[in-house]
């Protein structure tokens, strides 16, 4: 008889295992590092002086410094810079926000800094982050909201990972025309089957290189 489907065994591939496995924040090429006040100047400059400021959340607006700091943390559950391991150079920002713990979904955001527009390393950082989010919280799926002009760059290869679940027609304005707003969904179940395409085994919490802490028997034997 199969195990009953409970919140515990829906939330983690490790549910029922005897080990606590910390999500990796580092892979071979990139690292996730917390966003700190020391990064604000760099991040604000990226948003204000590159195409990112037009394509992403502020859409050309330049909030005051105080307002900007409040806005970058508004509703955020977790947020990291993606940096290269070799040079510690920031590649972009990843965050999860507007988490709904009752219905178990949240929104995933990612912004790649302008100088690295073609670099695949940012994607590797985003994959680390998705693994981190699904490990830490029991989200059923993560939504990605994006204007269609951002979607086009990934339209072919992203379909393996996400489902297009919503389209707001003529939702936003930019450059003399209106654009649709798309809502994509990345399901936990899909991530579990496809993550290995973007994460080497040692960062998917199944390898000895991940930090593992064996629970003491007294805890391990306690019921659910």
């Amino acid at each position: 008889m199969p195990d009953p489907v409970t919140p515990a065994n829906l939330t983690s591939p490790h549910a029922g295992h005897d080990t606590f496995i910390a999500p990796a924040l580092t892979s071979r090429h990139v690292r996730l590092t917390p966003l700190t006040p020391a990064d604000y100047g760099m991040l604000q400059m990226e948003e204000a002086t590159t195409g990112l400021g037009l394509r992403w959340r502020y859409r050309g607006m330049t909030p005051s410094p105080d307002q900007w700091v409040r806005m970058i943390w508004d509703g955020v559950l977790a947020q990291f810079l993606v940096v290269t391991r070799k040079s510690e150079r920031p590649l972009g920002l990843v965050l999860v926000y507007r988490a709904n713990m009752q219905d178990q979904f949240a929104y995933l955001g990612a912004a790649r800094f302008g100088a690295h527009a073609r670099s695949p390393l940012m994607i590797l950082g985003l994959a680390l982050f998705v693994e981190y989010v699904f490990t830490c919280w029991p989200f059923h799926k993560l939504y990605l909201e994006t204007p269609e002009y951002n979607y086009e760059q990934f339209a072919k290869s992203i379909q393996r990972y996400v489902k297009l679940e919503g389209r707001f027609h003529d939702h936003s304005y930019y450059g003399g025309r209106r654009w649709d707003q798309l809502v994509l969904a990345l399901y936990r179940s899909t991530w579990r089957t496809e993550a290995e395409r973007l994460l080497r085994p040692e960062v998917t919490n199944h390898s000895p290189t991940s930090l593992k802490v064996t629970m003491p028997p007294s805890k391990r034997d306690q019921p659910g």
Partner: protein
């Protein structure tokens, strides 16, 4: 008959293995991927597909050279042969 199944010919040939992975990621037939094809312009790999390619190379091939130069690598105009030559050392060891 006992023992492991015979390996496909490409399993022992790093170039063929590389092309096999590239074909799967780019959703093309192996025969259509030529050494002169450009990974972005001709094979239409976007950054997500390039990330998959990096993981494939890391996982399947002994790609020591990926440790250097990946930060600043220019992908535009890069051909399949150039990418292979840049990442795969001469004395390659195929991972089991």
């Amino acid at each position: 008959m006992t023992g492991p199944p015979p390996r496909a010919p490409h399993d022992d040939d790093p170039w063929e293995r590389f092309i096999c992975g590239l074909a799967e990621i780019s959703d093309r037939d192996q025969e259509t991927i030529t050494p002169d094809a450009r990974v972005i312009e001709d094979l239409a790999l976007d950054s997500l597909a390039l990330a998959e390619l990096i993981v494939f190379i890391d996982s399947e091939l002994y790609a020591r050279a990926l440790d250097s130069g990946l930060d600043d690598r220019a992908w535009e105009g890069l051909t399949v042969r150039q990418l292979y030559d840049a990442i795969v050392p001469t004395n390659i060891e195929i991972r089991a």
